[in-house]
Assembly symmetry: C2
Homo-oligomer: 274 residues x 2
């Protein structure tokens, strides 16, 4: 009944007896609440967010729907564990291209342990997080030429510098072969990034909310971009969702300048492609 998600591009993967998220065939995503504060914090965020009257309705659409917590058989065989039940953002897609982009020029935040701080800052400085204000966390693009998915190795993705990130964003909307070094043709840029309901318009809506919202600080959160490649459908159904809220904190009347700055930088990269 529950299986390993086919299109997950970042985070813990429930393969080879490891603990990770699962999906059902009804559009739900089950994310295990690990024994630490992170899972608890993420569930706490979803609870708060779901009932927060100060979040505009159109902004809710950029977050996975939350369906509470359920005891579910864990993917690592350790028995029934509490899992957050979320909307499976890619369930309605036949052949989705997916990219996870972690937003912000730092993934750590005030009051973390020195150990966590050191782990985060090392990664932030080694990737484009510090320089660009975002980093590509994972991607899986449908290659039309080869008629299969292209998923670069995680270590390659983490080693992207500005050019690598730029190229990945171009490949994300290209029709020519992705595995080689050919220049990405960005053939789908206007359909996926552009248009009245494309990714750029959605990102600009999110940006406008971040310009003034002081409810939450979205430390270490990602923007997930998805669109359809199935030749049967006419529509790309490009989508943007914010995901991964294990490190979200109260805003305390301060805007989320870290996320906002990074988001604006990311938007500029998308605009440059269009």
């Amino acid at each position: 009944m529950l299986k390993v998600p086919e299109h997950q591009v970042a985070g813990h993967i429930a393969k080879d007896g490891k603990l990770g998220p699962l999906v059902d065939n009804q559009g739900r995503f089950y994310k295990p609440l690990q024994g630490d504060a992170r899972g608890e914090n993420e569930a706490k965020f979803y609870e708060s967010f779901s009932s927060n009257k100060n979040v505009p309705d159109h902004i809710r659409g950029y977050f996975p729907v939350y369906h509470g917590v359920q005891l579910v058989e864990a993917s690592d065989g350790s028995g029934k564990l509490p899992h957050m039940v979320l909307e499976d953002v890619v369930s309605s897609y036949v052949k989705p291209s997916v990219m996870d982009v972690k937003i912000g020029s730092r993934t750590w935040y005030p009051d973390v342990s020195e150990e966590y701080f050191n782990k985060c800052i090392k990664k932030d400085r080694a990737t484009t997080t510090v320089s660009l204000g975002f980093r590509v966390s994972g991607l899986k693009i449908f290659d039309c030429q080869e008629s299969r998915f292209w998923r670069p190795d995680k270590r390659v993705v983490l080693a992207y510098k500005a050019d690598g990130a730029r190229t990945a964003l171009r490949k994300f909307v290209s029709s020519n072969s992705l595995a080689d070094d050919s220049v990405p043709d960005c053939a789908y840029a206007s359909e996926v990034y552009g248009g009245s309901d494309g990714i750029l318009v959605k990102l600009l809506e999110v940006k406008a909310w971040f310009e003034t919202q002081t409810l939450y600080h979205f430390n270490s959160c990602s923007v997930l971009m998805v669109y359809e490649n199935d030749s049967g459908g006419d529509e790309r159904r490009a989508q943007v969702k914010l995901v991964d809220f294990a490190h979200v904190l109260d805003g305390n009347g301060v805007i989320d300048h870290n996320f906002f700055g990074g988001l604006c930088s990311f938007i500029k990269f998308i605009q440059d492609i269009l």
Copy 2:
């Protein structure tokens, strides 16, 4: 002919035989080019900025005018040193209240030495830089009740947390006594921060430029806010200038997300007071 500036609130001070900036009686500010890369980098920035056709004219008004480099007798008696000759931003004021706010959630940047990185990040984490995206670097406010300037100790200013920064910004526009713990009355907020030519309007113009400019990354730069207290004049002549460009680097096609995020956070604090 050259003397120690009366209203300098941050940076090296040319007192007690130390090397620091000087002013003349003709509205010019002489900033010594120290033997290291910083002075050279700042002069290089001013040269580049002055001749950069891509900078809109109205944005130039937010930067001190640059008048080249001159050999001038150094304040520490070490003989003639090259000094950058800049517009003295406070020269036309009789009794200016001045505040220097360092903008950005980090003062370090990619490729600095480990030593410099460690020095910066320690200070960033100890102040409001990380949490708010800006920190108050220095201030000198004219206290109308006491009829003299109030300048809190530098160590007190660097120890400000969010509340301290908020209070300083409120005191900056208050008419009641500043030295004690009375609640700042923000009596001048609408004249200094508000109004069609007030500080908020100017900050919003700067913000709009930062939304898209990819020419420079203004690492460790400050916003200087000034206004007149002299009872003779009717006008506050509130002013905003960007200052301190020793660590400015090329933008390389990326927006200055660090400065932009911090600036937006700072703007929110000003808006909250109005």
